[in-house]
């Protein structure tokens, strides 16, 4: 592995993204990306008694199906890395217990997908192991309970709020099995806090973190937005991505036609999700459906994915602290 500049690393081995699998809830399945998803679940409890059990069930189904789709067996997967939004990463922990794959639990809120890809590919780069599965997800109903109000409580959301994506995305990475899509470089983000305290306005809180990471990547690699077919941020939403574009413009990068935000594109405007999707599942399902699909068909040659995470805790937020955010970047390339 070669260090480029301050925060960016280049992988020397061929690390392939063998398969991506996405499992989403009905609301996401009704959105504009429906034809790219592998599974759309009508019942967001997955036949279980609680939403928490349902989320766990989604993880198990998505990961097992991803491993099957990649042609491996559970025993051939050396490591499972990933996380979710629940306290103590309950969904991932119970999933790992069921799958019996050695597990590293990660938490970077909604940036956990790229964090998993970074950890997974770094492990593969060391050469001690061959196959890794990276999986993250979130669930609207469990996140609402943990971070906000009971589901049936009648209140009005702020017009700048977002909607937590129900879904799990899983990617199988391998250093032995080859595929078209490779992970080439990544940038490890710094925790960034520009003083936003309103937990409903996560897009605005996270946009500076995305800007810092993308800016660092461009500087470290000596490239600009023109060198990439697609630049995708994780879950800034409509407002957050507008702010992000403004911030990038201040740095001298004009993001226009090749820029998307996974949270903004996952729902239709009439689905009443205000600024769009958020959550650890957001960039995970868009990466493992739309983005990998377009890379595999050759429509995109290289894609920068910047998952963004608001590392907030309702406890310290109520004590008046602002929201620390992080963004990690991964460069995916087609051979």
């Amino acid at each position: 592995m070669i260090k480029l500049g301050k925060q960016t690393y280049q992988l020397e081995k061929d690390i392939s993204v063998v398969t991506g699998l996405s499992l989403v809830g009905q609301k996401e399945g009704d959105g504009p990306l429906k034809r790219y998803f592998d599974f759309v679940e009508k019942d967001d409890k997955m036949g279980e008694k609680t939403f928490e059990k349902g989320e766990r069930h989604m993880f198990v189904k998505a990961i097992s199906s991803a491993i099957k789709k990649s042609g491996f067996s559970n025993e051939q997967i050396d490591l499972y890395v990933g996380g979710d939004l629940m306290n103590q990463l309950v969904s991932s922990n119970y999933t790992a217990e069921e799958l019996e794959i050695p597990f590293l639990g990660l938490y970077n809120a909604c940036a956990t997908m790229t964090e998993s890809l970074i950890i997974g590919s770094t492990f593969l780069e060391t050469g001690g192991l061959n196959n890794v599965i990276c999986a993250t997800g979130s669930h609207f109903s469990t996140a609402e309970r943990q971070y906000r109000y009971p589901l049936e409580f009648g209140n009005q959301r702020q017009s700048y709020a977002q909607w937590t994506v129900t879904g799990v995305g899983a990617s199988v990475l391998s250093s032995v099995k080859k595929s078209k899509v490779k992970i080439r470089k990544f940038t490890v983000g710094k925790v960034t806090d520009f003083g936003i305290c309103d937990i409903a306005n996560m897009g605005a809180a996270m946009a500076p973190a995305a800007m810092e990471t993308l800016n660092a990547f461009f500087k470290d690699t000596n490239t600009t937005q023109k060198d990439y077919d697609l630049i995708a941020t994780g879950d800034l939403g409509k407002l957050g991505s507008d702010i992000f574009k403004d911030l990038m413009q201040e740095k001298g990068y004009d993001l226009e036609t090749n820029y998307i935000d996974c949270g903004h594109m996952i729902y239709n405007i009439d689905q009443d999700t205000l600024q769009g999707g958020s959550g650890a599942g957001c960039s995970a399902v868009v990466l493992n459906s739309y983005i990998l699909n377009k890379l595999n068909t050759g429509e995109f040659k290289n894609v920068l994915l910047i998952s963004t995470g608001a590392l907030m805790s309702t406890t310290v937020n109520q004590q008046g602290d602002s929201i620390p955010c992080i963004a990690h970047l991964v460069l995916l390339e087609v051979e």
Partner: protein, 151 residues
């Protein structure tokens, strides 16, 4: 530029950039919804009084509360109330319907954690602060009222 100045500038920029809820529209919706709930209460009051003309107003009021609370709880359980509240805002929250919804929705949400530590301890999660504030402010108002009444 130091962090403090940078953050101050950024927060002001975000404030300006974030979409604002149209206050006239919100007020109008709240007015409609609040008025609808009050008209409903009045309708029940008139019906009750037409059957029991001798009933005193306090008792009629108690019955109206019982009816509105029951209707709210049923609508909360059916998953309809939160949609009405999204439209009506304070119009649905300020009447007793909002209070009933806040308790019923918590009871539904935390049922899975058991009767005592789930429903029992978390039922007033949303309504609790409203109660505490209500009591605290009435105490202040009561003291002020008492002092004024001395003169």
């Amino acid at each position: 530029m130091n962090k403090y100045a940078r953050n101050e500038r950024y927060v002001a920029y975000v404030e300006n950039k974030s979409p604002k809820a149209g206050w006239f529209e919100s007020l109008f919706h709240a007015f409609l919804m609040g008025a609808a709930i009050c008209c409903l209460g009045q309708m029940f009051s008139d019906i009750i009084r037409s059957f029991y003309p001798m009933m005193d107003l306090l008792t009629v009021g108690a019955w109206i509360n019982i009816i509105v609370i029951s209707l709210t709880i049923i609508m909360t359980a059916l998953g309809v109330f939160d949609r009405l509240a999204k439209y009506g805002g304070a119009g649905t929250f300020i009447p007793i319907s909002g209070f009933a919804n806040s308790i019923a929705s918590c009871a539904i949400e935390y049922k899975k954690e058991g009767l005592v530590f789930g429903i029992g301890s978390k039922m007033f999660f949303v309504a609790g602060p409203v109660l505490v504030n209500g009591v605290a402010y009435s105490l202040v108002v009561g003291i002020v009222y008492y002092i004024i009444s001395l003169f």
